[in-house]
């Protein structure tokens, strides 16, 4: 753990002296390694450590607490601050149905997460509907329809339209069926695929989503920032959902995206079953990454 890696560097220091920039930097080198190994983005790590260094320099060593432990505390506190407050509410639309647009790279877990949110919304007394707007992946529509049957939520799909047209039509259909939350499942796409990024921007323009959620695989490495920035530029993300946290990844992309996109991490996927979704707890996660 990060705490253990510190003690060897700092236990040579005596009480009563200040932490110097040199011994802080050396200790933070260990933190840097740990954060990079945990897949936190290299630029985010640099900014984060600069902030920790600034905080730590000149702090007097508190008697009775090992200097290394004090730096660990600073790192811990700064990480908690970076992770921000818990924000797991879905702000529903004041008038008319709430539209939730699901976006992300291929295979990140959008379709499964759409069904998970639908189930959650049912449990909250809502009348959700899902829209099968992935016209590209083989059997994507079928996949969402099967999930819809499991959850007991209708799935809207009509052929012969582009995804933006389909989503716009879905909104009309929802009105007629008295649905108050509409979840738009979209095709996975690369942020460097201009045509597909234009397409999802068009879906957004036509449906004016109440919430746009970026669905990200928690095992993502350094590239997380690249795709998140691009999606955020085109779509104005309201929140991020990290999937597959039932795995053993440290999930450093969570730190990166919280810092870079600046939007809350709303939910996490913790399994393949439709019940496997939880609200995101920032402090619990900070412990996972520092562990």
């Amino acid at each position: 753990s990060i705490s253990e890696r510190f003690s060897s560097i700092f236990d040579k220091l005596r009480y009563g002296g200040a932490l110097t920039e040199d011994n802080i930097r050396e200790g933070l080198r260990e933190v840097r390694r740990a954060l990079l190994e945990a897949d936190v983005n290299v630029d985010v790590v640099k900014e984060f450590l600069d902030k920790c260094t600034a905080k730590a320099v000149g702090e007097d060593i508190v008697k009775g607490v090992e200097p290394g432990q004090q730096v660990v505390q600073i790192v811990h506190d700064q990480l908690i601050e970076l992770m921000g407050e818990s924000d797991t509410e879905i702000p529903f639309a004041k008038n008319g149905p709430t539209v939730i647009l699901m976006a992300g790279l291929q295979g990140s877990g959008k379709t499964t997460t759409t069904a998970k949110l639908a189930m959650m919304l049912l449990g909250m007394g809502k009348r959700p509907m899902m829209v099968a707007a992935d016209l590209q992946r083989p059997a994507a529509i079928e996949q969402l329809k099967i999930l819809g049957e499991h959850v007991g939520v209708p799935v809207f799909h009509e052929s012969g339209m582009t995804p933006p047209e389909l989503c716009a039509k879905a909104l009309k259909h929802a009105e007629g069926d008295n649905r108050d939350v509409i979840l738009l499942d979209t095709a996975g796409r690369l942020h460097v695929d201009d045509q597909l990024m234009d397409e999802i921007a068009d879906v957004s323009k036509r449906t004016k989503p109440t919430q746009t959620y970026l669905v990200v695989d928690s095992m993502t490495g350094q590239d997380a920032v690249n795709s998140a920035k691009a999606f955020n530029e085109r779509l104005e993300i309201d929140g991020v959902i990290f999937t597959k946290l039932d795995g053993d990844t440290r999930g450093g992309a969570i730190v990166s995206l919280r810092h870079i996109v600046g939007k809350p991490i709303k939910f996490i996927g913790v399994g393949e079953k439709i019940e496997a979704v939880q609200p995101f707890q920032p402090d619990r996660y900070a412990r996972r990454i520092l562990g």
Partner: protein
């Protein structure tokens, strides 16, 4: 990067940054940077050679080209290829791509819908089988994955197929019961064809970070992985974890996925891979 012949701190910082950004990992990055410095000091930079070539050589030593025959073909009978990996990595699509590639090379190919768990997994591969023009062995969702695998190998044997590609359900490597299920699939296949599976290919998403190493370790420990398919390299992720996986586990990349179509599979070429990392 590396234009010119002089090493300074700026150069070392830029090199470190590129390698880290490519998911090469901090330990491996430090090792490569140290190696480049050492070779430079030892005068290994040939006259007229750029620093960039020195870096490329360091990286190139870590990697292996894909096999000339592309697969470890069976001595006799059908070659059985099991395709495994975590959820969403690109297994099903890669099975379709492999089927297309070897069908185009005039092999008789059979594919098997070994994911009997996920919604519409069988339907997804059915559509691919139809598009590629190969036969599909399947049972309905909810049936036993090992039974499908057994049927597929038996059918391949009976029909004189050259190659049978078995898709499996996505599973996280830390889920012991799912890894046991996969081991069972292998044992059942072996009952029918003792030398099978001739290849067990681990499909890795190029966007995956250091956790990919853990994936490779555990799938290898369970199944014996013979090679990797690194997918989604048409994005901006560089898949640098492949270097550590090769170094620590000896597992080579055989193919890369560069898109969602049936032709978007290429044999692994280390030089192109390295050039993409170094920009």
């Amino acid at each position: 990067i590396g234009q010119g012949r002089h090493i300074d701190q700026d150069f070392l910082d830029e090199l470190e940054y590129r390698l880290l950004a490519a998911d090469i990992g901090v330990a491996k990055t430090e090792a490569i940077v140290a190696e480049v410095q050492q070779r430079y000091k030892a005068g290994e930079l040939a006259p007229g050679e750029e620093l960039l070539d020195l870096i490329k050589r360091s990286l190139r030593n870590e990697l292996e080209e894909s096999l000339p025959e592309e697969l470890n073909w069976a001595e006799s009978g059908p070659t059985v290829v099991l395709v495994v990996g975590v959820n969403g990595a690109g297994k099903t699509t890669s099975v379709a791509k492999l089927a297309k590639r070897f069908k185009d090379l005039d092999k008789k190919v059979l594919i098997a819908a070994g994911d009997t768990y996920r919604a519409a997994a069988v339907e997804q591969l059915e559509i691919w089988a139809d598009r590629v023009g190969v036969d599909l062995i399947k049972q309905k969702t909810g049936s036993d994955a090992a039974a499908v695998a057994f049927d597929a190998v038996a059918a391949a044997d009976a029909r004189g197929a050259d190659l049978v590609l078995i898709d499996t359900a996505g599973r996280l490597h830390n889920k012991e019961h799912l890894m046991r299920e996969l081991e069972k699939v292998r044992r059942v296949i072996q009952k029918r064809v003792p030398a099978a599976p001739h290849e067990t290919l681990l499909v890795l998403d190029a966007t995956a970070g250091q956790n990919a190493i853990q994936q490779a370790k555990l799938f290898d420990a369970s199944m014996g992985i013979t090679g990797l398919i690194l997918t989604k390299l048409d994005g901006t992720a560089k898949g640098g974890v492949a270097i550590t996986i090769k170094r620590e586990l000896g597992l080579p990349v055989r193919f890369i996925g560069v898109g969602e179509g049936m032709d978007d599979l290429q044999p692994f070429e280390p030089d192109a891979f390295i050039n993409a990392i170094l920009g």
